[in-house]
């Protein structure tokens, strides 16, 4: 028995290829199978580990499915009222200018009830990073229409499909914010494939870099899934995301004050900028 074990797993030859980032707590999350919240948590934690800033990072979690994120991240965390995370982050960052402050918000939180706080934090160029989970639905409350729900999308509160005559148009947050002076970086990514996950990680890293460099407000919108409230399997959700969300919410860099507006526009027009560029930091 012991000889078999030794021959199969020699301790000397073992190498850690994959482990939990230091910035993630060793707890079971409550996220549903196939939900992309977990992937994005991990990416944020990896970036914070890589930058070695967990000791001076303060996260602000929203009201939404990620309301318990304060239990999952391994650094100081504030839990904000629904939509108010940018204001809470402003209070934190203004009081502790040397810290790294980020918010983690869903679409209802950021783009509906918290739209004023979002737009004004962006206008002020608050030196914070915003991780924006756009899953086109209110996940936590059981699948109501979100400000980002697609035209025709059936939800609990748009049972006949989102009627734009009655409910208006879904909001394209990166496009909206990219017109604002205080925004340093506005980029939309997704996490449906390993390539996209790697690109999302690079984008998140860049957003934190920009904050640390004091360049202004940075937002990474992550096109995400909610298998539970979409009523789809994990697999089918990714397919639905690609076929319905990505055409409406094109991936790309919408503003990058380092690249300049023209370049950003071109990158967005070129389509899937999520897989292109920004290489070399891993």
């Amino acid at each position: 028995m012991s000889t078999t074990t030794e021959s199969v797993v020699s301790t000397e030859k073992r190498r850690v290829l994959f482990s939990r980032p230091k910035s993630l707590s060793d707890v079971v999350t409550h996220y549903c199978p196939g939900c992309t919240h977990g992937i994005v948590h991990r990416l944020v934690a990896e970036v914070i580990d890589q930058l070695d800033i967990e000791g001076k990072t303060i996260g602000v979690c929203p009201v939404g499915c990620s309301v318990l994120a304060h239990n999952y991240f391994n650094f100081d965390m504030a839990q904000a009222a629904h939509g108010r995370a940018p204001a809470v982050a402003t209070g934190l960052k203004r009081s502790l200018p040397d810290s790294v402050v980020f918010t983690y918000q869903g679409d209802g939180d950021l783009a509906s009830i918290g739209m004023a706080e979002t737009v004004h934090a962006a206008l002020r160029g608050e030196k914070i990073t915003v991780i924006f989970i756009n899953n086109a639905i209110y996940g936590m409350t059981g699948g109501q229409m979100a400000p980002t729900s697609l035209p025709g999308q059936v939800t609990q509160t748009s049972p006949y499909g989102r009627d734009i005559e009655a409910a208006g148009y879904p909001v394209k947050v990166c496009e909206l914010l990219s017109g604002l002076e205080g925004v340093a970086l506005a980029q939309r990514v997704t996490v449906d494939t390993p390539n996209h996950v790697r690109a999302a990680r690079r984008a998140i890293k860049k957003a934190f870099d920009y904050q640390i460099e004091g360049l202004g407000y940075s937002i990474i919108e992550v096109i995400s899934t909610c298998p539970t409230n979409w009523g789809l399997s994990a697999d089918a959700s990714m397919k639905w995301l690609r076929e319905n969300m990505l055409p409406y919410y094109p991936l790309g860099v919408f503003k990058d004050i380092k690249a300049g507006a023209a370049a950003a526009g071109a990158a967005a027009a070129a389509g899937d900028a999520n897989t292109a560029g920004d290489a070399g930091d891993e």
Binding site: D76, Q79, V88, T90, G91
Partner: protein, 363 residues
């Protein structure tokens, strides 16, 4: 002894806050608190402080939440309609045990109401500053001097009990000028805040500012713990001033600017031989229960005088508990009653009369 300077209540309060070590202010413009924010906008940047005009009162109070979580001494000021918008944030501050100073320079309501002095937010301040089980400490100054003196106390109580504290004043006190002795500028020692979110620096466990407890038992436990602190506050932090109450047959109870008018009325009727006195609650929550309780055996009648339709009178009746008669007299909407008006009410009560008029209720 510092010399006295002539200052508006709003400005004196702002200066006192800075001298109490508060260098962080978030607000949104509204009359009649304007001078307070304007003073901060001018005074804070040169000393390296943070003044930020938020996009709304909702944002302002949540910025306060963030700054308080970061461990700094922080305040916001507003007036009635703006305080309504802050209620959500105040509830979250209570739930996360975060100290902060909130100023309400009250004006008449409901709705947009008016901009003249009012005390119509007593209920909001003492009973319903936000959803959920919870209270905040509420202090009510009645002079410009007291608007300065109560500021440091408010900050200290907030830190001591980890609770938001409100100074509830009104447009009259905010806008009036009086000579005031400002607190010394040096030697403010701010308490350690080991719970603050400052980044764990890889040297301690992570800290959290959180009001959410999905497990009912955990939520109840957190509230019970907070209410134990409230018990101590009720025992130790009642503040009131008594004036000519030792032999008073009729005891007026009034706070803030209304107490100034009530005091003049007491003087008037005393000159006529009516033995009236005044209890002036300074802490509205905790309510000045003890001093009123001591007065119950002495007085036959109590009269609450307020710039409202009668709100504090409820708390007065709870203490008196039917043992003696409780009356109310008030004006609302920004009308300030005159000492003569109140003196007349005292005379009627002394004569055993029951008067029924719009701004007069007798129980």
């Amino acid at each position: 002894m510092a010399e006295k300077v002539l200052m508006k209540g709003n400005e004196a309060l702002a200066e006192a806050a800075i001298r109490a070590g508060c260098k962080t202010f978030f607000g949104y413009p509204i009359t009649p608190q304007t001078e307070l924010a304007a003073y901060m906008a001018k005074a804070l940047p040169p000393i390296g402080g943070t003044y930020l005009q938020a996009e709304s009162e909702v944002a302002a109070i949540n910025m306060v939440y963030g700054a308080s979580a970061a461990g700094v001494r922080v305040m916001t000021s507003s007036s009635s309609p703006g305080v309504s918008l802050k209620q959500e944030g105040i509830s979250y501050l209570i739930g996360a045990d975060l100290p902060a100073l909130i100023i309400n320079i009250q004006r008449g309501g409901p709705g947009l109401g008016g901009i003249q002095p009012s005390q119509a937010d007593y209920w909001q301040a003492t009973k319903a500053t936000g959803h959920g089980d919870g209270q905040i400490i509420v202090l009510a100054p009645s002079t410009v001097q007291e608007m300065t003196d109560l500021v440091a106390l408010a900050f200290d109580l907030g830190d001591k009990y980890r609770t938001p504290v409100m100074i509830l004043a009104d447009g009259l006190l905010g806008q009036m000028m009086e000579p005031v002795e400002l607190p010394e500028t040096d030697g403010v020692e701010l308490p350690e805040k080991p719970w603050a979110l400052t980044g764990h620096g890889n040297s301690r466990e992570k800290n959290m500012a959180n009001s959410m407890h999905l497990d009912p038992q955990e939520l109840e436990d957190s509230i019970l713990e907070r209410y134990e602190r409230y018990l101590v506050i009720k025992q130790d932090e009642q503040l009131a001033e008594s004036y000519l109450t030792e032999d008073a047959d009729i005891t007026l109870v009034a706070y803030g600017a209304a107490a100034r008018v009530a005091r003049s009325a007491v003087n008037k009727v005393r000159a006529e031989g009516i033995s009236a006195g005044l209890i002036r609650p300074i802490s509205l929550w905790p309510f000045s229960v003890d001093v009123i309780e001591q007065q119950v055996p002495i007085s036959s009648d109590f009269l609450s005088v307020e710039f409202s339709m009668g709100q504090m009178v409820d708390d007065l009746r709870l203490v008196v508990d039917g043992r003696k008669r409780v009356h109310f007299y008030g004006h609302t909407g920004g009308i300030v009653p005159t000492p003569d008006e109140i003196a007349d009410v005292i005379r009627r009560i002394a004569a055993g009369e029951k008067v029924n008029q719009v701004a007069f209720r007798s129980y």
